[in-house]
Subunit: 226 residues, 2 copies
């Protein structure tokens, strides 16, 4: 009998890593670029998506909407006429505070991957655990609102360190809150030097074009990096 | 040999419940009433405490400050000259997104319980998991900010259902955000009928007297219910 010695590496013990890689292979086969969108509750993930998803040119986009319960955000996005699949973490997953690779995998059959260029996964609102669970995404984007305070990069460093792009939302509130953008950016630079960031207001529309352009560039690139 | 048959009940298997009860017994022996203060990141837990803890009359108050990392909030509260103990969840606990009974228990030796009437435990900023872990508290209070949106009770029902008091903070921002207080209260009533609530602004001071009175009443009551 031919015997194969399998070396067990630490990562292979991590079921999430294994399943994230399987998701990733499926996304690559379908040619879909995947964005994991994260934030605290109420930072404005859905509001930002409402503003940009209807205007991505030739990029065919879909959304996987993660919530503990309900479909309020999915209902809001449905009016944009993009495919939206709701994933609730309170059934069978024990009210989880984050999406993991297996939850995302359970939703893949409901997604028309072959008809998409870009998939946005809106994670559960939480600044801790979502940063610890890869789901097979190409890029991680987080939204931080000026109403949350300029200290957030220092208090939740893993989240700010885990993402490739930081969106500073609700800048229309700057005249009404104690938030110094320069302080925030200095804190951000302390935990994630050089990370790309954009300031915006989903309420007024200010600054959203840059994020829309960023998504279009991501959705139209030829090569999806492994 | 005398044999005792121990009936294993489901709750006894839950280590958190067991340890929460042990904490509770210690708090009762010391005559300390304990408040578990919860919210999303940036809702204003620390700002509210800064406004009220220096002005509780004869009530001797201490704070257990829970954060994933750092001591920013504890440093802010130290200027109030109340005992503050920092508890970080990133060391030995794996970067937990909530406090649990065992973490709180690990901090008890650092707290001068016999010199306190009231202990405020400021939980990690998160609207999901903190609601699932009792820590031996008498009351659970949550803070929701108008900047987070009026839909939050529907999206995080367990948190809004788990608490005895809801503080609606940052009402000074009401003229600048799309937030209808009546809608919020209707959503709150849908998930937790009749729950006590107070509107306030830690920034302007509006509405804080009611919460201060609530804390004083809690800290001066003769009997601590089991």
């Amino acid at each position: 009998m031919h015997r194969v010695k399998v070396r067990v590496v630490e990562d292979a013990l991590d079921a999430n890593t294994t399943i994230a890689a399987a998701n990733r292979a499926d996304f690559d086969r379908a040619g879909v670029t995947v964005v994991n969108l994260m934030s605290a509750p109420g930072a404005g993930k859905t509001s930002v998506l409402e503003r940009v998803l209807g205007d991505l040119g030739d990029v065919r986009v879909g959304v996987l909407e993660g919530d503990v319960q309900g479909s309020l955000d999915a209902d809001r996005l449905a009016s944009l006429h993009v495919p939206v699949v709701q994933l609730n973490t309170d059934g069978g997953f024990g009210g989880e505070c984050h999406l993991d690779a297996n939850m995302v995998r359970s939703a893949l059959p409901a997604l028309p991957l072959d008809e998409l260029d870009l998939l946005i996964v809106e994670n559960v609102g939480n600044l801790v655990c979502p940063a610890e669970f890869r789901i097979g995404e190409d890029a991680r984007v987080m939204v931080s609102s000026v109403a949350e305070g300029e200290d957030k990069p220092l208090k939740y460093p893993l989240m700010f360190r885990a993402c490739e792009l930081v969106l500073l939302n609700k800048i229309d509130l700057l005249p009404h809150v104690d938030f110094d953008v320069e302080h925030f950016l200095a804190h951000l630079d302390a935990v994630h030097p050089g990370v790309e960031h954009m300031a915006m207001s989903a309420r007024t529309g200010e600054g959203l074009a840059a994020f829309r352009d960023w998504l279009v560039a991501l959705g139209t690139r030829e090569e999806v990096p492994a």
